[in-house]
């Protein structure tokens, strides 16, 4: 039986959590409400909480005046490339680093780790120059080409592979598997949870990234959702319903994915941190 003092403590905890949860949600609620208001309603004093007659004008204007279909397509292409390839390449490299002894392997691994410590913007100017030499500035390819590998994912997966007992592989070798078959049929399924975590981290980062798309692509039809909605500000100034409609359309796919896969999202993040 729960004592009354414990019940009182639970009540206090709930009150703190509910107030904080409301505070966390305010920006989402305000984004949706503002996107349905008229321009005057959005900046009216005293402020209005609800629009008189919810209007979709903000959404229609945002879609008409900018390149939303392109933003979506470019973001999806680059998010898929930045997720699929790092998962494949990192798991291969991680398996090799964990299991196959070759000269210089520890030096190469340390090299890989040290790249992880470098702040991303350090890469941008040289990468921009590289893209410019390859004629890739203002292309969708430039959005993802430099991010097909992930030292972090390699590091995380190596930790995992190293924790798996070697007996399993020795048995497979006796059964006549080659190293690639062992990697593909035996090792990969064993680190499934780590792979899911990496997919989620990469996807989220690729979807939300702003600075690189902003630097490399300036023509509207080559932008991502992130850099695209950033340009809405200069196009629409203080027409807040349009800006909020654009913002809402940009965040909604990721939020839907999050609600569907919330268990994987939350566990994936916690998981990669505790095992990393």
């Amino acid at each position: 039986m729960i004592s009354s003092s414990a019940r009182k403590a639970h009540l206090v905890v709930h009150i703190i959590l509910i107030i904080s949860a409301i505070a966390m949600l305010v920006p989402f609620v305000w984004m949706v409400l503002t996107s349905l208001k008229t321009t005057t309603e959005a900046t009216q004093i005293p402020i209005r909480y609800l629009p008189d007659a919810p209007s979709l004008r903000g959404y229609i204007e945002a879609i008409k005046q900018s390149e939303f279909p392109h933003y979506y397509l470019n973001t999806i292409i680059s998010a898929v490339m930045k997720t699929v390839f790092p998962v494949i390449f990192s798991s291969m490299a991680a398996y090799a680093f964990a299991r196959i002894r070759f000269p210089g392997s520890s030096i190469l691994f340390i090299l890989l780790l040290s790249v992880m410590m470098v702040p991303n913007p350090v890469f941008y100017t040289p990468q921009y120059m590289m893209m410019s030499e390859l004629g890739l500035v203002n292309t969708v390819t430039a959005l993802w080409i430099a991010s097909l590998i992930s030292p972090f994912a390699t590091f995380l997966l190596r930790q995992f592979f190293m924790s798996i007992s070697k007996e399993l592989e020795e048995a497979s070798v006796l059964d006549g598997c080659n190293p690639f078959q062992i990697y593909w049929h035996i090792m990969l399924p064993l680190v499934r949870s780590a792979l899911v975590a990496i997919v989620i981290i990469q996807l989220q980062w690729a979807w939300n990234e702003l600075q690189w798309p902003l630097i490399i692509n300036s023509s509207p039809e080559k932008m991502t959702l992130s850099s695209g909605i950033a340009t809405l500000v200069s196009m629409f100034g203080t027409d807040y319903p349009v800006l909020m409609a654009g913002a809402f359309m940009a965040v909604v796919p990721m939020i839907i994915l999050f609600f569907i896969f919330q268990k994987q999202f939350i566990e994936g993040i916690a998981f990669s941190a505790t095992k990393g």
């Binding site: 639970h10 709930h14 959590l17 949860a21 966390m24 949600l25 920006p27 989402f28 984004m31 900046t43 009216q44 004093i45 402020i47 494949i88 390449f89 291969m92 490299a93 398996y95 680093f97 196959i100 190469l108 090299l111 890989l112 790249v115 470098v118 702040p119 991303n120 913007p121 350090v122 890469f123 941008y124 100017t125 040289p126 990468q127 590289m130 430099a146 590998i149 030292p151 939300n208 702003l210 600075q211 902003l214 630097i215 959702l225 992130s226 850099s227 950033a230 809405l232 500000v233 913002a247 965040v251 990721m254 939020i255 994915l257 999050f258 999202f265 939350i266 916690a270 941190a273 505790t274």
Partner: protein
Amino acid sequence: MIAPTLIGTLVFWGWPVIQSILLGFQHSENFGTVNHWVGFDNYAKLFRDKEFWQNLRNTLVYVAMFVPLTLVLSTLFAVLLNTKIKGVSLYRVIFFLPQVTMPAAAAMVWVVLFAKDFGLINHLLGTHIAWLSNGNYAMLVLVIVGVWGAIGMNMLLVLAGLQGIPKSLYEAADIDGAKRFNKFRYITIPMLTPTLFFTSIILLIGATQIFDSIYLIIGKTNVALPSVRSLVYAYYQNSFIYNDRNYGAAIINILLVINLALTGIQFAFQKKWVVYD
């Protein structure tokens, strides 16, 4: 099997680091077709530049406010969620939501919320503060927005750390008649230090690179920009707006040195204050 990762890392990440360091020692003319070696000239100019010191100071002020605040609040919420209350998974989802929200989109709604005349925040507080055009308040806004976005993830990390503490330790303390606060002070905190340590490294490295929210919430024409401009923003401005990629490289190389030093210091101190098992 390591070839794709190795080649990709060397070409797209490894070589750029070297090139960035080289760019810092060069001066380019004619859109980069002519490069002179100028030694430490860019850095000499940087160290004489008042704006650089201000940007460095802004970045450090942001880090000094954002990191401890996020750590404290994340730990608080994690401890609250670790009690046996109902609705833990719902709270977790709500707190995590900002984490999956695009910073660019979030920034746009914060601009509306913090507006001076028609903003919800001034309305609720009954104030009339120019949040976005007063330098001190603008810094506070950036910290609030940063903390809002970071709590969910860091709360989860701390929660995972809390759940990793063996129950037997608390049971033993109960037998010895330990008070709740003492259990927190002498079991939870020491057992949590590896998690807090890890979390603080990630937060610190991320916070020194603040850019998105300055770009979108403050913007290039705002009078408050000089009092919040970070090193990464200054790097972006110099390299891609003023097209002085050498000066930009000098700025970002300073951040590289700072981050490497931070990582080094933290690893050196790790042995001293982190209790593993």
